[in-house]
Amino acid sequence: MLQLHALRCIPGLLLAGLLQAAEPASVGRGAPDPLIPPDIVGSEGKGYFTGAGIPADNAPIFAARDGAVPDGIEPLALDIFSTRDFYQDRALWSDPRYYRCNSAVGLEQIWGAYEVPLIGDDPPRTAAWGFCDRDYPREQIVSPYGFATAKAHFEALLTEATAKGGPTRHTAATLPAWSGRYGRQRDKRLAWFNGATLQIPTYLSLLTPDYQQRFVQQMYHYSGDNSAQWPGSYCWPEGFMRRLAQYGGASVQLLLTPDLVLDMRNAAKTLVTQIHIGRRFNEEGVVPRLGPDVPQWFGETIGFWDGEALITWTSNVQGWISHGGFEYSSKLQSIEIYTARKDAAGALLGLHHEVVLYDPEALVEPVRIVHLLDRLPDQQTLDPLTIMECIPQSFPVSGVTTPMSPGQVVEYRVPDIFGRPWAKIWEEYHEQGMQRPQPAKSRFGL
């Protein structure tokens, strides 16, 4: 049985979290922020550093590497690095040792995705271990609010605002002065969705069986055969959850008007959330929506103000993946609450962004992510936010992401964008001989 290591807070980070504006108790927002653990699980090729490149004083984090095994740990005879068919190992998926106690991001970068590689000179034998005695409490991940649906959550918050005489109808003169640029706090410990603080079995406990298999499939192809298929590498869509990934979506620009708020973020493409203030969803279809019955890559979002709190509901999302995170379905919906973080004098320091995700197809229960956005200084002299048009430079060549030069000729298979194209590549090129569970055929032989 794993023991959670003692949780303690990081003073500076905790302080940042506490500086959000004081709000009265609510049924659906403002619960205490999730705990911030002192350590990540590992392994991690460049320690706690989050910038580009490798710092001069780089300190990789691992429990053992180069063929060693952490003290007191009995390795499994078969793990995700050595297996020939991870589908057959389902009974082992819930044992952290199957992943050598690496976190999800630990596996993602173990071959050197953007870090110092920790795979060693003789993989799989030499792949590094994370710390088996570290994990993140599941109860700090799941929603503390008890709503089964985003609709119920949103309506409870709307009722709460109405009881106070709201929702607040801001004019251009009364809108909070939030328009401008922000940077998200990027410490690896700050959000579980960064993927660094929890063991993979804890991650899997949040997912339904089908999405557990999808997640382990992704983890295998980071670790077992080094065949990452990040959507952004091919300029495929980035998708809704990329807004919340550690690196993607960390550069933010907000533009507020009384009727529409734009939340723009950058990854391989510019990610735009349009928050329609005061509108209501058409709820006649499979999922609530504003426009036609067509899933949107960033969904459709309505919202209202409760004083200086902006409360939003996003639905009609196109199911997809944010690499290193869980796959999500087109049933995904979110409730998001933006509130101000101010200093003692009332000056805006940044925003507190609380996100509760509902996805009955992928998640066994709703989960919560909390981010802290810092308002950037010198707003009038910042470089403009780059509008990202992704230009394809890499292509899957025999199942391997391969940078190509102008003029080169490559055999190209058209991806099935709406059919898990990353997985199609894995299954064709990297799962030969595996016995993947197959869906039953219909009576028409399809």
């Binding site: 019955d293 059919g419 032989g445 399809l446």
Partner: protein, 158 residues
């Protein structure tokens, strides 16, 4: 109205609506507008692309009890290109409205290069009632309870 006319009119309407699909996305010359095939099959997937929604389906055999197979024994899959996803949704042509396994009939102008695809043009598109294929040799427009997804009829033109 010819298929070319329909495409032209559709493009003009989209332009008026300010839709991005109103911008000329591609020529329709790859389709043989002088021919119309009418096929009945099982939906495999709907791709809700903003410029042109695509419906993928596996045609049923004449007996309407099995999908057609290729030489390797795999289902043959056809693609039919429609209006942009937002416009198509107004006719009920959506991912949610046409889940995998839905039985449909569609008229299409086939690709000139012989590949298994076509453009819908002005042709009809019908959804059979759930799990109810048409009788042998017939199409969904002959089945009680079938739903027409937009305008147009199912008339083959060899």
């Amino acid at each position: 109205m010819s298929s070319l006319n329909r495409a032209t009119v559709t493009a003009a309407c989209l332009a008026l609506l300010g839709s991005p699909a109103g911008q000329a996305h591609h020529s329709f010359a790859m389709y043989d507008s002088g021919k119309t095939l009418v096929l009945t099959g099982i939906i495999t997937q709907v791709d809700p692309n903003p410029n042109h929604l695509q419906v993928f389906f596996a045609p049923l055999n004449a007996a309407r009890d099995q999908v057609e197979k290729d030489a390797r024994g795999e289902p043959v899959v056809w693609a039919v290109e429609m209006d942009g996803a937002a416009l198509a949704a107004r006719d009920g042509i959506t991912v949610n409205g046409l889940p995998r396994g839905t039985i449909v009939s569609v008229g299409l102008h086939p690709l000139r290069n012989g590949h298994t695809g076509g453009g819908r043009g002005e042709n009809g598109f019908y959804r059979c009632p759930a799990d109810t294929p048409p009788p042998p040799g017939k199409h969904c427009d002959s089945v009680a309870g079938a739903v027409a997804l937009g305008e147009g009829s199912l008339q083959a033109v060899p």
